[in-house]
Amino acid sequence: MADAPVYIDPRLCKGCGKCVKGCGFGALKMVDAPGTNKAGKLAEVDPSACRACSACVSACPFKAISEVKREVVGTDDLDSYRDIWVFAEQNAGRVADVAFELLSKGLELKAQRGGGARLCAVLLGAGLSDDAKNALVAAGADVVYVVDSPALADYEANVYVDAVSQLIIKHRPEVVLAGATAVGRAFFARVAVKVRTGLTADCTMLKVEETKNKDTGAMQMLLHQTRPAFGGNIMATIMTPNHRPQMATVRPKVFKKAPPDPARRGKVVMEALKLAAAKTKLVKVIRDPGAVDIAAQEILVSGGRGLKKAENFKMLFRLAEILGGEVACSRACVDAGWCPVSRQVGQTGKTVAPRLYLCFGISGAIQHLEGIRGADTIVAVNSDPCAPIFGVADFGVVGDLFEILPRLIEELG
């Protein structure tokens, strides 16, 4: 049986319970231990819930809790890893916006990292144009690694994994970032396993800072990867101290895309890789011409459970048309079959960052609020004056949406 990541000294524990309050993962509890101290209680740690964040170590006023040191098996020669990479997802030759958002963040990380680290983009595809490569340079890439092969014409997870893993093993980047898109999420998780390193999904904050390695005591430049956990109820900062590269995914629209600078200069490196054969066959792609990418919209009119039925969304479509936006919804509407999942905002849907998020009948569950954190202006109409959505709305109207919505359409239409 393995030990827990922290040791609680029963001789020093006073049974005060401060560590229980300090633990964000519910991993500590007080158990009755008559005769051990005045309180007759001792702290106990549940090793399956403990994430070794050491919050309890600092929370204990009696220095009764210490971290258990353990042997670390990490990547060899950590210092040989240097550059900051961004996976430049492309579709039909067009680089996805999220890659530019990540390059903008990458410029900040490069400045924080110093030490001659370069910002590099990785572009996979078949028959890629110079436009795509130049756009990546203008967005800040010092180097664009290009793998151009007919095998990469379509996304096939297994070939993508092979290409990116080979490049990582060859060039040893210190940080690798990808967009948490359908493509990025799936194959990147497999790349991280292939190169045996850590991957933090859906980061909302990233920075590089000199940090003490808790295992070795050495000072290192580490990527601080912050993401929501437990349905957005808590934020966790995660690091990958002993393995390289440090990998993270970020949802589209979480970081802002900086304007390109055509004066920037960078190097395009064509990589001729011997790629694994595709193991699956893409027969066709069915594109829905009516499909909308709600993440790309400037104005979203969104509906929740309060809309009561699918046909009531007609009013939202009318309002969206007037405002020049699109219609989104909460998870409840997808579960009820009123809306397709492509329109869902929130943790299991999309993260959006419109100029205006105008929502009706959405109470504002934490998972939903997580998805609209980047909205410039939030306006809410809800019949419940205590709905959490009002806690984040710039303008809130308490009232019956079925009476307000038609009048609003009239006012604006």
């Binding site: 993962f25 964040c53 098996v73 193991k279 792609v285 829905d288």
Partner: protein, 272 residues
């Protein structure tokens, strides 16, 4: 045909709240449920059992209480269930978890990979969607994600031979073909989960569930649990609050509410 479905017991995160005084999670009274996405993966497996007589095994990694989700899967029609559980697995991140689960899958399928391994799209507590892809790498088996339709066609002797799936990607629906073995992650848009018959529930309640620990899996101690996890949680803190702004009460006077709203939008330059 052998299908392994990986299921996870998760706290019902829609009910997890933060204690505003201590900024910690309030876990008391939060119900544990089967990760909702995993139920759709199980349904796909059971459909293959109906059609081809596939053996359906379910695997869950977690504390002893996670046997409950395995019993639920047995009640619905799974043939055998395995709990991957040990204190040594505690604190595992997605790399260590993928390694551990892949060992368990190999163990129950006689050392190799089964024909098909199914996962839900993601678990609602961690939301990483990383373990399915991670397991596919450890098993060295092709990976297909976001499956919303699955069609398995038989060969001349009636055995399942090839699959064709629809995978929902950002640019549209990808129709993909391939052969076994494969690892797939399944979406909610797939067939709805079936209910367990009463007889199944009674039998599942009595069923033995094998527990696989690090010894049973012959796991490398350096690759499991917290010690085998490259990622470390360093700090936790409450999410940054966004302040609410103006709020008006328009109950009983909808016209006033609509007018105020229109004025706000125009003041902000959001309407022409």
């Amino acid at each position: 045909m052998h299908v392994v479905v990986c299921v996870k017991q998760v706290p019902d995160t829609t009910n997890v709240r933060i204690n505003p005084k201590t900024n910690t999670l309030m876990r008391e009274g939060v119900e544990s449920i089967v990760n909702p996405f995993d139920e759709y993966a199980l349904e796909q497996a059971l459909a293959l059992k109906d059609k081809f007589g596939a053996r359906v095994s379910v695997v869950s990694m977690g504390p002893p209480q996670a046997k409950a989700v395995l019993r639920e899967a047995l009640a619905r029609g799974a043939d055998d269930a395995y709990l991957v559980s040990s204190r040594a697995f505690g604190g595992a991140d997605t790399l260590a978890t993928s390694y551990t689960i892949s060992l368990a899958i190999r163990k129950i399928s006689g050392g190799g990979a089964p024909d098909l391994v199914l996962f839900g799209k993601q678990a609602i507590d961690g939301d990483t969607a990383q373990v399915g892809p991670g397991v596919s790498e450890f098993l060295d088996v092709p990976l297909i994600t976001y499956v919303k339709e699955m069609d398995v066609s038989p060969s001349a002797d009636g055995a399942p031979a090839a699959w064709r799936v629809v995978s929902a990607m950002d640019d549209g629906e990808h129709v993909i073909e391939g052969s076994f073995p494969a690892v797939m992650t399944v979406l909610k848009e797939a067939a709805p989960p079936r209910y367990a018959p009463l007889s199944g529930a009674i039998a599942a309640g009595r069923a033995e569930i094998a527990v696989l620990d690090e010894k049973a899996l012959a796991a490398d101690a350096a690759k499991i649990g917290l010690g085998g996890s490259p990622t470390k949680v360093v700090t936790i803190f409450p999410p940054p609050a966004r302040d609410g702004g103006e709020k008006i009460d328009a109950r009983g006077d909808a016209a006033r509410g609509a007018r105020a709203l229109a004025e706000f939008l125009s003041r902000k330059g959001l309407v022409k």
